[in-house]
């Protein structure tokens, strides 16, 4: 065959699309779709055969040919394919997928890049960004115009280089999420539940390593929803709900965050039951009965909590949520919970789009420097104690007629209030709510390299990472959602 090397990339790109089409058509056929989807499946397999033949990939060609022959019998029989036939077709598509993967692993493929290489590039450019700031300061201090000009030019080049490297690591989430369709289908059959699964926002792009890391936590959340959140068809009928449950995995962009949500219309989480279990485990005082969604999430994300007998049934979300929470935090992300008993549950994960370098606001408080990702910062205002008002036992501030809750960073850090009482208010937009954080001093903005960070026991859980500032000192990165 001619020109195998030239067309190999094109083959695999197209093969991937065809396989997605095949799985999609098969899933639809299984749900009762008509002859149109069978034709669609036939065409996809036919195309695969043609391409494989052109490339000389004989095993893929032969598999496709056999699958095509099988589909020909389905088409000519004019009756809907039997469940046994559908299972065989699924197995055949799986085999095709494996054969294609094997073909792709050939060493002569020269454009594949190890994620490690991209990680190395990212680390290097991160260090270069930090060095750039130091160089810029030195150049400006020197007062030499030609030096400052060259530095300005180099600075622009470094920004472009960072952008190119960042872009080279971006992949659409669909690449990792599409396989969840089969997973959800197989798992829902295993647990005997009827589920309609929907993927939204599969075109949204995310850093490759973020996507690699978030896969397992998402599978965890999907399994939880299928095992515990979603009721059986019989239970749903009794509850007056449609027998087929809805499970949605949606991805969207909000400024410099990627938000991934797992939503079901299942039984929801009963806060009162969670509170009761927490009280029994000594995690809550006997007086606490009402829990906010974030309090519920915090409790069910604790390792100890999920191993309590019977909690999986009651909480509606099962074991191991602590694993998800830890992984999300290590990626510099955050989680939120929204739930209504009887109606359903949505868990949202917010992740930075690019994992390594972010734009941050530096603030000093109680002698230490902290970094706040600019993504959430709306504005900053000078703070005087007179600005504080009391609202339902909390502090609040009024800005141009809008009332916002106030959190004092010193209090969150377990530090005493400032003697002078002076400071700055940072107004934060956390998508679903706006709030504010009082810090001692603002030190300006900086590009920082995010390093993952494990909080020591006993530390407040308000940090999403750590960084080294341009002057070489370390600083902790605040998790805006957790701190305010």
């Amino acid at each position: 065959m001619t020109n195998e090397h030239r067309y190999a990339d094109l083959f695999h790109a197209e093969a991937r699309e065809r396989l997605v089409e095949m799985n999609g058509a098969l899933l639809a056929i299984e749900r009762g779709a008509g002859v149109d989807r069978v034709s669609e499946l036939f065409r996809a397999v036919h195309n695969m055969k043609g391409m494989a033949a052109a490339m000389g990939y004989e095993s893929i060609r032969d598999l496709s040919h056999n699958l095509e022959a099988l589909l020909e019998t389905v088409r000519s029989s004019e009756t809907a394919p039997s469940p046994a036939m559908i299972l065989t077709l699924f197995d055949a598509v799986d085999a095709l997928e494996r054969a294609t993967a094997v073909q792709r692993e050939e060493p002569k493929r020269s454009i594949r890049v190890d994620v490690e290489r991209l990680d190395a590039l990212m680390t290097l450019i991160g260090e270069l960004v930090i060095a750039r700031r130091q160089l810029t300061e030195l150049a400006q201090r020197s007062g030499q115009q030609d030096l400052m000009d060259v530095m300005s030019h180099a600075s622009g080049l470094i920004s472009s280089l960072r952008d190119e490297i960042t872009r080279s690591r971006m992949v659409p989430v669909g690449q990792a999420f599409e396989r969840f369709e089969r997973l959800v289908r197989d798992t829902s059959r295993d647990v005997g539940k009827q589920v309609a699964f929907e993927l939204r926002g599969t075109d949204i792009e995310v850093d490759k390593s973020v996507l690699d890391e978030i896969g397992d936590p998402l599978i965890h959340l999907l399994r939880n929803a299928l095992d515990h959140g979603i009721e059986t068809a019989a239970e749903r009928r009794i509850a007056g709900k449609p027998p087929v449950a809805r499970l949605v995995l949606s991805t969207s962009r909000e400024r410099s965050l990627v938000v991934i949500e797992v939503s079901d219309d299942g039984r929801g989480i009963d806060g009162k039951k969670v509170a009761a279990l927490a009280r029994a485990a000594g995690l809550l005082s006997p007086a606490q009965n009402e829990l906010s969604a974030s309090e519920i999430l915090e409790l069910i994300s604790r390792p100890g909590f999920s191993t309590t007998a019977g909690v999986t049934r009651l909480s509606g979300r099962g074991v191991g949520l602590d694993v998800v929470a830890t992984k999300v935090r290590a990626l510099g992300g955050s989680m939120e919970l929204a739930t209504t008993p009887g109606k359903g549950t949505t868990i949202s994960i917010g992740l930075p789009v690019t994992i390594a370098i972010i734009h941050a606001l530096l603030a000093k408080t109680a002698g230490e420097v902290y970094a706040l990702p600019i993504a959430h910062v709306v504005e900053t205002i000078v703070w005087t104690p007179a600005m504080a008002r009391s609202r339902e036992g909390r502090e609040a501030i009024s800005i141009r007629g809008e009332e916002l809750p106030v959190t004092r960073l010193r209090a969150r850090l377990g530090q005493p209030p400032r003697e002078s009482g002076a400071g700055h208010v940072v107004v934060l937009d956390l998508d679903k709510r706006r709030t504010s954080l009082v810090v001692d001093e603002l030190l300006g903005q900086q590009e920082i390299v995010v390093k993952s960070f494990q909080a020591a026991r006993g530390m407040p859980q308000i940090f999403s990472g750590a960084t080294i500032l341009s002057n070489g000192t370390p600083a902790l990165i605040l998790d805006a959602r957790a701190v305010a």
Binding site: M1, T2, Y7, R43, A54
Partner: protein, 120 residues
């Protein structure tokens, strides 16, 4: 002046492959279509000297497209691209107006022989 070609196949891979063979042989690929419907519309718009047409496509198959194109322009020169074992369909396509056919997987020499036959 080079002869112009409209390439019709629902796989990008196939369109690229046949397009490359034709371009290397000195023809001008002036358009691509990914369905029968698209093929007919593009033919009317571009009036190419030659059309290569895949038999199996969504939204109006290759044979119906050949018929529609030939009805629109009885002088149309369409070359069918079929997979092996589709003799019956090829025969049908020729009755609908196609001038010749090539079998996939494409061998450049065979493709060019067929193109020369069709273009005269």
């Amino acid at each position: 002046m080079n002869s112009t070609v409209l390439v019709c196949d629902d796989a990008v891979f196939m369109r690229t492959m046949i397009g490359d063979i034709l371009t290397e042989a000195g023809l001008d690929v002036i358009g691509e279509a990914s369905s029968g419907k698209d093929a007919v519309a593009k033919y009317k718009l571009l009036r190419p000297d030659l059309v290569t047409m895949d038999i199996i496509m969504p939204e109006m198959g290759g044979i119906d497209a050949v018929r529609a194109i030939t009805e629109f322009d009885p002088q149309a020169r369409v070359l069918m691209c079929s997979a092996m074992g589709q003799q019956a369909l090829v025969a049908e396509a020729i009755q609908a107006g196609a001038k010749d056919f090539v079998v996939k997987p494409f061998q450049p020499s065979r493709v060019l022989e067929a193109v020369q036959r069709v273009l005269g």
